[in-house]
Symmetry: C2
Subunit: 216 residues, 2 copies
């Protein structure tokens, strides 16, 4: 099957949204916790969180114009802080339900049945049911002029890992031990199976398989 | 386990790289095909390709400073075109090997044993063994000032889907039919299993499970 630029243009809007959203490959599945200056909390599912750098530890995410997580963006701009929480297989339906257009005065935590968890290191709520939680400090926002999406970049200030068996000897995390899921397209969720872990590649050198061995 | 900002700072460099790269969740697995103005071809594995918008169909990717895919960035800037090719389970080792630091005059296609495929719609080579291939036209590049990474944004001009059974009735693609893999951390590859596909969420409405049914 070959889709030209014109074929893509000719798709009806919803078909094009599903199709184009499928093309980039598998996506991360995270819940973004935030509060506004009055303490009104918000929780939004986002599939656009991506690694941006390890030193400083930076994470980017894309917020679309007029999308539901705009409350999230407003909150982050007000407080400068937010949380990122991995979605695991046990909370997929609740996480997906946060994408409904709730009014600003509704906490998605309450609406979908997830538990907000606060600690002294971050003003924004974590998701208690998530097994990998991060606190972030906002570092920059910029508008992508091509389509008016917003690129939000934060620095990771704290990481909470529920199961230390996921922490491997070289710093690598075994996300399968945390039941972290992946997303494809707009709305499909996947569990994963480890295929292989491969050594640092060098020219003319055969790749080795690396162990995924926890410290504990 | 709690890692503070200082704990992260204190990790040795390689441990920190593995750890922070694991935090964003699952990542897409793609090969970027490009050529320079003299036709010297290049192929690079990239885990940072992400969906940016459906209309126009835009895809972003992050190129790190001094990283191997800098040849890719130079080529894209020269020609304005590149390809994105999904990595499937059959070509994981070859795809990973493209990350070795080959000299500019070496084609990674030849070095790792993948087959370049050219057609009239794109100056850059596709990966014949990939089951989902896209041609892109460069739309913008911008430097992320926080860490000097480069955000490269392209518009999808052509999509080639090998197996039409992956195309579902509403435009959604079943990536599992294409054996597309996901990446975690720097170097682990995963196959996936569909957990569920969920309907558009609305407040006070129960989610429905959607079918993943091919057109053919």
């Amino acid at each position: 099957m070959h889709f030209t630029k014109q074929d893509i243009e000719n798709l009806d809007k919803q078909t094009r949204v599903h199709f184009i959203n499928s093309l980039s490959g598998f996506k991360s599945a995270n819940l973004i916790g935030s509060v506004d200056n009055q303490g009104q909390e918000n929780l939004a599912i986002v599939s656009s969180v991506f690694h941006l750098g390890a030193h400083p530890p930076l994470v980017g995410m894309i917020i679309r114009p007029h999308s539901v997580p705009r409350h999230t963006l407003e909150n982050i701009l007000q407080t400068g802080h937010y949380t990122i929480n991995h979605i695991n297989a046990d909370i997929v339906e609740k996480a997906h339900q946060t994408s409904a257009r709730y009014n600003k005065d509704v906490s998605e935590f309450t609406a979908v049945g997830l538990t907000p968890h606060y600690n002294a290191n971050c003003i924004a709520p974590f998701v208690k049911e998530s097994k990998l939680k991060m606190a972030l400090a906002l570092r920059s926002t910029q508008t992508i002029e091509l389509n008016q999406t917003e690129l939000v970049i934060g620095e990771i200030t704290d990481v909470y890992l529920e199961d230390d068996k996921a922490y491997c000897q070289d710093g690598f995390l075994d996300l399968e031990k945390l039941n972290t899921v992946a997303i494809s397209g707009l709305d499909r969720y996947h569990t994963t199976s480890g295929l292989t872990r491969l050594s640092y590649a060098k020219p003319n050198t055969t790749l080795q398989t690396l162990n995924v061995t926890s410290l504990k």
